[in-house]
């Protein structure tokens, strides 16, 4: 255990330790300087936005909308996201740290409907209003308010459309969902079932898979579904990246656009273009920019007047379809492109 090179080791350690510390400080200074904001403690209203992940175009758009709305109202937006759509730990830490940083309100799309309720309760107790965006907490009352699409309705619309599009034909349904704890996932899934007119354990549903709300995992899930049931001709997908992944798998399996009915939710510009291209047959368009801007406005109003936001605000949904069908109200692709986000 005695190191004969003790003297050398000591000086080397000292030099390198100093280098290490210098690097720590240097990095921190550079980083902080690069994003330096005026540290006015009392004047600016701080608003926090926490999304499931930072890469889904839906959340990217939500963040852009929130930033713009904050700037317009003279507030400052802090942003954080989880590493994946099921990462609760990062979101919980973000809620806590933003509360300490002095935000007046937090807008959040929770990864799991229940896992963050304890942290949200603590933030509310500290006087911060917490507004759920897009996906509700379970129960809804865990947050002050909810600004979201009526996701159940969104599901009903595409369910009805899928049923009308396949009238008289034999159907085999595949469902590409998100992870099990996702409340928005459950709402859309069940809405689709209601709109289509079938029950949870209907024999028409050949398989259901977890596509994680992203393209590549959805492709894998769809491929596995097809291995099990090669005759799938109706596919429900939780969002448009999933729909694209599902279509990739169907295409590889030799299916045609005409022979498959794919429905989705989102109404992003990329998704609506896929509707135009015939890949997605119908999509429920939602309005993340509205969620973000109304959320920010509600927090600013609370900061200025003390009036807390409450209840559920439906930010609206419209069915976008290339081919209108009898019995299902839908809007044109043109409308979809004019109102799309992203």
């Amino acid at each position: 255990m005695r190191d004969p090179q003790r003297k050398h080791t000591f000086w080397r350690t000292l030099v390198l330790a100093t280098a290490l510390l210098a690097a720590v400080i240097g990095t921190s200074v550079l980083v902080a300087a690069a994003s330096a904001k005026p540290t006015s403690q009392g004047a600016t209203i701080k608003v926090g936005l926490i999304t499931k992940d930072a890469t889904n175009p839906f959340f990217v758009k939500m963040r852009a909308g929130a930033t713009k709305a904050a700037k317009k109202l003279g507030a400052k937006l802090s942003y954080a996201a989880g590493k994946s759509s099921s990462d609760n730990a990062s979101q919980i830490a973000a809620i806590e740290n933003m509360t300490t940083a002095g935000v007046k309100g937090i807008l959040i799309t929770v990864a799991d409907g229940k896992a963050e309720n304890a942290a949200i309760a603590k933030a509310r107790k500290a006087g911060v209003v917490v507004i759920a965006l897009d996906t509700p907490t379970v129960p809804k009352s865990a947050t002050n308010a909810l600004f979201a699409t009526n996701n159940f309705n969104a599901g009903i619309l595409i369910g009805k459309y899928a049923r009308a599009a396949t009238k008289g034909k034999k159907v085999t349904i595949g469902m590409i969902d998100e992870h099990a704890g996702s409340s928005v996932g459950a709402l859309r899934h069940n809405g689709f079932l209601k709109g289509f007119g079938i029950k949870k354990n209907s024999k028409l549903i050949a398989c259901a898979g977890n596509g994680e709300g992203q393209t590549a995992p959805s492709q894998t899930a769809m491929e596995n579904c097809l291995q099990k049931s090669p005759n799938i001709n109706v596919v429900y997908t939780i969002n448009e990246p999933s729909a694209l992944g599902a279509w990739n798998a169907l295409k590889k399996a030799g299916k045609t656009k005409a022979g498959t009915t794919i429905v989705s939710v989102d109404g992003g510009c990329a998704g609506v273009r896929n509707v135009k291209a015939g890949i997605i047959d119908a999509t429920s368009q939602q309005y993340p920019l509205l969620m973000a801007s109304r959320g920010v406005a509600a927090v600013v109003k609370f900061a200025k007047t003390g009036k807390k936001p409450s209840g559920y605000t439906d930010t609206g949904v419209n069915l976008i379809a290339k081919k209108p069908l009898v019995g299902v109200k839908s809007k044109s692709v043109r409308y979809g492109l004019a109102n799309c986000w992203g």
Binding site: I25, V31, S84, E96, A115, A118, H179
Partner: protein, 342 residues
Amino acid sequence: MNATDTSAQPLWERSAVQQIRRVLAAPAVGPLLALLLTMAFFSLKSDRFLQGPNLSLVLQQVMVVGVLAIGQTLVILTAGIDLSVGTVMAFGQIVMTKLAIDSGYSPTTAILLGILACVAFGLFNGGLVAIVRLPAFIVTLGTLNIAFALTHIYSNDLTYPPGESGASSLPSALLFFGRTFTIGHTDITYGVVFMFVLFALAWFALTQTAWGRHVYATGDDPEAARLTGIKTARVLISVYVVAGLMYGLAAWLLVSRTELGDPNAGQTTENLDAITAVVLGGTSLFGGRGTVIGTLIGAIIVGVFRNGLTLIGVEVIYQYLVTGILVILAVSVDQLTHRRRL
């Protein structure tokens, strides 16, 4: 005799300079200095950082990873690595919560069984590494997936308690570590105190007992250790079992923090954060050298960065950038100052 080799001199005969050099050359001093400087930096940039409630918050955010990192330190000291850290913990918390709610076990029994489940995984890992002589990386890679699967199968992908209940319906024994006591204006959670107690016990076991000596010896050079009569297989197994115990205790802490059992826990941040804490604390990945106190400091550094960056308004994403740079620097410092290893 080397002028700086003061070990043979009685304490009172060493000069002040020699004393200082001895202290600086001690392990964990580097990480401690890094932590203190980081804290100084953040307290200068934000007046909310150095306040009692905020520091208490940082420790709460660190406590689960901190306890996991104790187990990880032990494993790394034996020149192994444990990739199953996060998912074994997740399994433990699902067992605890599900048994307490569904199976009518008393809360204490449920907690013990949950911890036992993690210890069982530890025993499994240790047995394969010590007796079958499989590389730790591979064994724990396998256990990672097994634990992940078992967690989802056993929980049916639901958080516990299931259903729409608002307030947590978990028995209070499971939430014990979330309780707080107040000193001045600061609430301190029992869980944080428990973390410190565990670190103290680990330090004692590693530095003051024969077992600790054997752990270091086995990690440093297993063959030499065996030749001096140390039963290396037993030491290895005991290390993994104790690590499993730590994961079980961390599971209990996590349940106290989130007030439910989450099957998606432990997948993203916990695994790598535990390893990061160990590395930042100065423990060598090649085994035989390192301290558990260093790990504690390493864990706190990561927590401080995440918290501090949010407080000064820098995006949390930079936390990963800084952590990555720190890890590389820490390992480089370790490498270059102890050249007799590769």
